[in-house]
Symmetry: C2
């Protein structure tokens, strides 16, 4: 379990300190933090609490939402992402996960939205590099293309990331978002040292009414994790492996129970 | 409107004869038939009714579901697809649309399911060719990969189709399934004369609880149809353009109203 990380949204309703304490009890050595939870106690207190507990921060979630066409909205998004980069640096997070945003309201200009993201990443990347934080472009499942992320495949994420220095822009490999892609194994191999984060959760059916909550515990769904995990290892990734689950029934389960299941499934399905 | 076709599932609750009559009233020159509806009156009566009304058949929906690993189930699927090919020939349908099937129950072997489909298509393609029917491989949106179709992108459909003679195996270009794909325009260009059918409907948000019913009327959602339609034209496709919508509120609307809206949207967004 020495590379296992709890993405704290897996136990969304726990505070940062409760999530850290639960990791310590479960023997989980790393945590992926969310800005919402960090903000409740402040960046410095959060950083201190995690460090004092002996945990690593595997990532900060999240920046992004960079598709606005209105100049004021765009400027606000850039400012918010700069703040997120600063928070990631203060927390010792190696990367800031970017959910790039969907189509602007009323727009069908998908190519334009994609160009806007690339432009904004170009503006943010040098600042991230200065602060020692890597922007981690996350391709989301294509079902979120309209309203959440116009970045839809790992290949597209790499097309974008490769325009920037490797220490400034990487990619997230997330099993839930990418498992269906016929090109995924080839693209993981291509990604190599661009892999900034490996996140795992399962694809369960039927999808819930709110498709944002469709992520399941590893082993509860349809994903074969071994080929994906092997490909990520073969690509050279040695960082933490985050379990990130958005799922109402997981959120309604006591955190210690969730973490116990998560550790067992991780050992059985990912680490073996 | 000389290339417009009603896929009859757009007015699912109408019988075949009612759907044909509605097309005639609306001035729609072609119809995409479903086996369920054809079966209610028999293939010969259906063929005669459509021909007597002066309509073309643009496609027959559908064959497929070819991922079974159990030998008896697989044999039954092959037999059913051979029957579907015969029906398509009797109806004068130029192609039989194939929804290839999802993962077998309890299986996470995505690569195996994909190989099974390709193997079955290889068994069916020569028979389709003999009968003058083209198998039309339909890549479904990746959100259906687990339970409906392990064929997820146009590029993958072409990788498979290109193993067979062009008159035996083609592909469907469906805006709902493919609009998000960063590679879609390149793959449409690659498809060329492999394009057996062009189907249009829109991507609406939020997705309904049953994601199978998420297809919307053109103009009600997030898809920019012009680049896709232009690419299909540039690839050389001159066949019918089918409107295929699975949507509860459309089904609850009187068919003549649906067809009037559909004709207007087709003229404004597709044919112009």
């Amino acid at each position: 379990m020495d590379r296992l990380s709890l993405n704290q949204f897996t136990i969304r309703d726990a505070s940062l300190t409760d999530a850290v304490d639960a990791c310590v009890r479960a023997g989980i050595p790393a945590i992926g933090l969310w800005r919402e939870h960090v903000g409740q106690i402040g960046v410095e207190a959060a950083a201190r609490y995690v460090t004092d507990a002996g945990l690593r921060v595997s990532s900060l979630c999240r920046g992004g939402f960079l598709t606005a066409t209105d100049p004021r909205e765009r400027a606000a998004a850039i400012a918010d992402n700069r703040a997120a980069i600063e928070e990631a640096a203060a927390l010792g997070a190696p990367c800031l996960v970017l959910v790039v945003g969907g189509l602007p309201a009323g727009s069908t200009d998908l190519a334009g939205a994609r160009a806007a993201v690339l432009d904004a990443v170009g503006e943010l990347a040098p600042y991230a590099g200065e602060l020692g934080v890597r922007l981690a472009l996350e391709a989301l499942h294509p079902m979120y293309c309209a309203d959440r992320a116009v970045l839809s495949t790992l290949g597209q994420a790499l097309d974008w990331a490769e325009r920037f220095p490797v220490e400034q822009v990487g990619v997230v490999v997330d099993t839930f978002h990418l498992w269906w892609d016929p090109a995924v194994l080839d693209q993981i191999a291509r990604a190599g040292e661009r892999i900034a984060s490996y996140q795992v959760s399962d694809w369960v059916t039927p999808l819930p009414a709110d498709v944002l909550l469709g992520r399941g515990m590893m082993g509860d769904g349809h994903i074969d994790f071994a080929p994906l995990t092997d490909a990520v290892a073969a690509a050279g990734y040695r960082g933490d492996i985050e379990v990130e689950i958005f799922n109402r029934s997981v959120w309604e389960t006591p955190p210690d129970t969730v973490l116990a299941t998560m550790c067992k499934r991780y050992v059985d399905l990912i680490a073996k």
